[in-house]
């Protein structure tokens, strides 16, 4: 197992390196200069490009970038928060998105699992139908529309939560965005849990367990849920990444200083801020790869059969 994990980690590091290179090249192809140009003359633009080293061969630029990266710096922003170092700003944004993300994952997973299990156990009955409708509505209403509804009713009509995000009152002001973000997660997880549960409930080993006299919560926990978990974990993993990496529109509406908005501003702002787009993409990819790594290892824990096959490769 440990050999497998080591190999897997080494692979991930290599992948990350390739990703950085691919991103580096792609971002330089994007139309748009990395600094505001509206009031610059053509001459000034050329001068600025030279100053930023954008005229050098791409490999040389990449080497420079990597050496900067390895020394622990993401560089400075050039069109977004220009001149200021990226790391502290990005960290602040990451923390905000991360906290709200964690809340929404927790909420989404718990509620989603509960709805899924209830639906599966009441298959074909009224509760099942209700759960299905809830989970369908959950994917039909974009989270930001739901957010506006929440804001309208619980901050405007009944001023219960702060109208805008307030870092000094974190918990109260992150409940509405977390709730709206978790909507999609609830629906997805509920649907998958229901379907997986149904398949497992129908399997021979559950029937055997039932025949042996196991029933109720014990049966669900020991036999059904555990076996239904693999595909569910697979669904949750990318959701975790997408929830942690922020939601642009909600962050904009609620005034959250988060990474989703930071990313869109870096791409669609005054200029394409190469350094921000790269820094954020690298962090996102690292998170994604990390989650996938954990996922693969989790597969091994949940289902020992996978461990065996992985050793062969």
């Amino acid at each position: 197992m440990s050999k497998y994990i080591t190999k897997r980690i080494l692979m991930s590091v290599l992948t990350l390196f390739i990703i950085i290179f691919v991103l580096f090249v792609l971002i330089r192809i994007m139309p748009g200069d990395p600094f505001p140009v509206e009031r610059m003359s053509a001459e000034m633009i050329l001068q600025k490009r030279e100053e930023l080293g954008l005229n050098k061969p791409i490999l040389e630029q990449f080497v420079n970038y990597m050496s900067m990266l390895l020394s622990g710096s993401f560089g400075n922003g050039t069109s977004l928060y220009n001149g200021a170092p990226i790391k502290p700003i990005m960290t602040a944004c990451l923390i905000n998105s991360f906290k709200i993300g964690v809340l929404s994952i927790l909420f989404g997973t718990l509620v989603g699992l509960a709805i899924g299990i209830i639906a599966a156990l009441n298959r074909g009955k009224f509760l099942d139908g209700l759960c299905t409708i809830v989970s369908i509505l959950g994917v039909c209403i974009p989270s930001y529309v739901f957010m506006i509804f929440l804001q309208y009713f619980f901050s405007y009509k009944i001023p219960f939560f702060p109208y805008f995000f307030d870092p000094s009152n974190f918990l109260a002001s992150s409940i509405m965005p977390a709730l709206s973000l978790s909507l999609f997660a609830i629906s997805t997880i509920a649907r998958f849990t229901r379907n997986e549960m149904l398949e497992v409930l129908n399997s021979d080993y559950v029937k055997l367990a039932e025949a042996k006299g196991l029933y109720g919560f014990e049966l669900i926990r020991k036999h059904v849920l555990r076996n239904a978990l693999i595909p569910i974990v697979t669904v949750i993993a990318p959701l975790v990444v997408s929830l942690l990496t922020g939601a642009m529109v909600i962050e904009k509406i609620y005034g959250i200083n988060g990474v989703g908005k930071l990313m869109v501003d870096a791409i669609a702002g005054q200029g394409v801020d190469y350094n921000y787009v790269l820094a954020l993409s690298i962090v996102f990819s690292a998170m994604y790869i990390g989650v996938m790594l954990v996922l693969d290892i989790l597969y091994g824990i949940i289902d020992p059969r996978i461990r065996l096959t992985s050793k062969e490769g």
Binding site: M11, S12, L14, T15, I18, I19, V22, L23, L26, I27, I29, M30, P31, R123, T132, I136, V139, C140, I141, P142, Y144, V145, I148, Y152, S187, R191, F192, N195, E196, L198, E199, N202, I230, P231, V233, T234, V235, A237, P238, M248, V249, M263, V264, I267, A268, V272, V277, S281, F284, S285, Y288, I289, M292, D303, R305, I306, T309, S310, E312, G313
Partner: protein
Amino acid sequence: MNKDDFEFISDRDISVDENFASQGYWKGVAVHFFRNKFAVTGLILIIVIMLFAIFAPIVSTYSYDQIVAVTDAGGKEVIAKSLSPQIGDGSAQNFFADKTFIFGTDDMGRDLWTRTWQGARVSLIIAFVAIFIDMLIGTSYGLISGFFGGIVDHILQRFIEIAGSVPTLVIISILAIFMEKGIGLVIVSLLITEWIGMSKIARAECLKLKEREYVLASRTLGAGSFHIIFKQILPNTIGPIITQVMFSIPVAIFTEAFLSFVGVGIVLPQCSIGSLIEAGFNNITILPYQILPPICVLAILMLGFNLIGDGFREALAPKLEDM
């Protein structure tokens, strides 16, 4: 041995079970599907939406990009913008009392009824593209990766990590250099990005199933890998796959809306359900009727697709029905 050692089976009188006539696999699926009243309801919902999407814009008095206007007594042009739903019985207190706007008009003075159905066209196309991408690319990628395991799996999974790490906005901005903006560009970018989630599901399912007895049996009998993947494993993974497809439809529709929002999606004055929701969203608290039609159409569409999906899943794996 000669010919006489054998006899034609047909010559013999073999008993054929006439109560349970044998039927083809797909016929069985169809029978199961149509026996399920939820599935049929879903099918009807989708067909109704499709019919509206096809015919409503054709039949409508207004074209989807037509700004409805009249000239008032003073010779000034008055535009029918932001009118709430009205039927042309003359009761509405505006210049357009004789005109019918079932869903009202948007803030450009265009008929929302026509635009909603025009938008449904685009979104239906996107929905089917999403299904296609998921089914074809995502599923086979995931199954192959999961089935072969080892080095193949490693390489394919690392490729996913690379492909998944490039932000959609970056991809589409680069594509926009080479392509005209519009629905084509959106479809290509969905092709590039939308299959990843599905491939993960398919791979996980494959990992779960490939050690099963029937796979082993099949392999012992000499079946090739691809035969096993697509004939043995695929039909058994259909449940989670269909569930995932259902979720990629709204994701694709909203991705398109997000791209329009940033300025790389569908080109105005064309519209899609996503871009209509986006437009209604700007005025949600003061003109709430503008966002309701597209959301309702999307909800019905989703409900329909989900019911069909459930129906299919149960028809393809009838064992569930016995529960």
